[in-house]
């Protein structure tokens, strides 16, 4: 079993984290509200997963002010994009192996 799941990244084991990364892969910059809307999760839930991904520096956080309102937007780092691609490759391999059984 261990050989099959080798390559799956622990950082992406959660649904919400997978979602965050997939959105950031195809969008340059996404703000918190848009992420929340697309993933349909609570503020706290999203924030905790974002900080987990930030800790391993897979995503970058940009904080700025639009007028007087603070606006935080997120983007995928180069390392994060690479890691996510590897993770997807591993999933693909896993599914292909499963199909041969």
């Amino acid at each position: 079993m261990s050989s099959i799941i080798h390559g799956l990244n622990k950082a992406f084991e959660n649904r919400v984290r997978l979602g965050i990364m997939s959105i950031l892969m195809v969008n340059q910059k996404v703000d918190f509200t848009s992420l929340k809307e697309m993933l349909q999760v609570s503020d706290g839930n999203l924030a905790s997963h974002i900080s987990a991904l930030e800790k391993v520096s897979y995503i970058k956080i940009t904080k700025q002010f639009i007028g007087k309102k603070p606006n935080t937007s997120y983007s995928a780092s180069t390392g994060g994009k690479k890691a996510f691609t590897n993770h997807l490759d591993a999933i693909e391999k896993l599914i292909k192996k499963g199909g041969k059984q």
């Binding site: 649904r15 599914i95 499963g98």
Partner: protein
């Protein structure tokens, strides 16, 4: 394991019933083990397939505006046809004459402000009602699907739709300034087609076919100058209705 048991059995002279029970037990345990293992592998696989579907879905939804309703196209087409019919009734059979536009706008005795005023009012009326109805149907569809109408994918779609459209609009004004009135209708069709093809990367891919049809129609219209109103009615009326109906049955039924 089974073979070993089979060999050992006669020596110890186990009662056939006990022997059978043993085989049964061992078979049952291995079966259970297999089922558990395979099940584990299967759920892992199913889960990953589900994850992949979710990923694809999110990538699609976060970049494309997909709640564009087919009914928006149909209503815009109907508005355009009504507008064309009103224009035809107003100008009468003259609308078909190749030199009609030329006469209206360039020959001194034919410049009539009421014509221009009428055309302007009519086109603004058609534009507002088509956009209004189009917005209404798309808004209704977005509400049904539970998304938001104004997000980054909407902004991106409108931006990329606007570039060729605004260019085309300005170009038409320039054509009017030069007095080349007969080229306005074909030009609007061509630029509208280009705008649709440009926007098709940010919404349902299918609108590129509508775009290609508009461009072909616009090019034909620029050869048969003077039949502007007819081509205009086909391009903005008939094509919109056909496209909208196809989209409605493809995605909303």
């Amino acid at each position: 394991m089974l073979l070993l048991l089979y060999n050992a059995a006669p020596k110890k002279k186990i009662h056939p019933a006990v022997y059978g029970a043993w085989i049964y037990n061992i078979c049952f345990v291995t079966l259970l083990f297999k089922v558990l293992l395979i099940n584990r592998a299967m759920t892992e696989q199913d889960e990953q397939i589900e994850n992949l579907t979710e990923i694809r879905n999110l990538m699609e939804r976060s970049t494309r505006f997909i709640s564009l309703s087919g009914l928006s196209g149909v209503s815009a087409g109907i508005c355009a046809l009504i507008g064309a019919a009103i224009a035809y009734r107003y100008f009468g059979y003259n609308a078909y004459f190749p030199n009609f536009y030329y006469h209206i706008f360039t020959e001194a005795e034919f410049i009539r402000m009421d014509f221009l005023q009428f055309l302007f009012t009519l086109s603004v009326g058609v534009l507002v009602s088509a956009l209004g109805l189009g917005f209404l149907f798309t808004w209704r569809r977005t509400k049904q699907k539970g998304g938001s109408l104004w997000n980054s994918s909407t902004r991106r779609l409108l931006f990329h739709l606007a570039i060729p459209l605004v260019t085309g609009g300005l170009f038409c004004i320039i054509l009017l300034l030069h007095g080349e009135v007969y080229m306005v209708a074909p030009t609007t069709l061509v630029f509208y087609g280009l705008a649709l093809i440009n926007a098709s990367k940010y919404t349902l891919n299918d609108i590129q076919y509508l775009g290609i049809s508009e461009i072909i129609l616009g090019l034909i219209a620029s050869v048969y100058v003077g039949y502007g109103l007819v081509f205009w009615a086909i391009g903005f009326g008939v094509l919109h209705i056909v496209y909208g109906t196809v989209m409605y049955f493809k995605y909303e039924k």
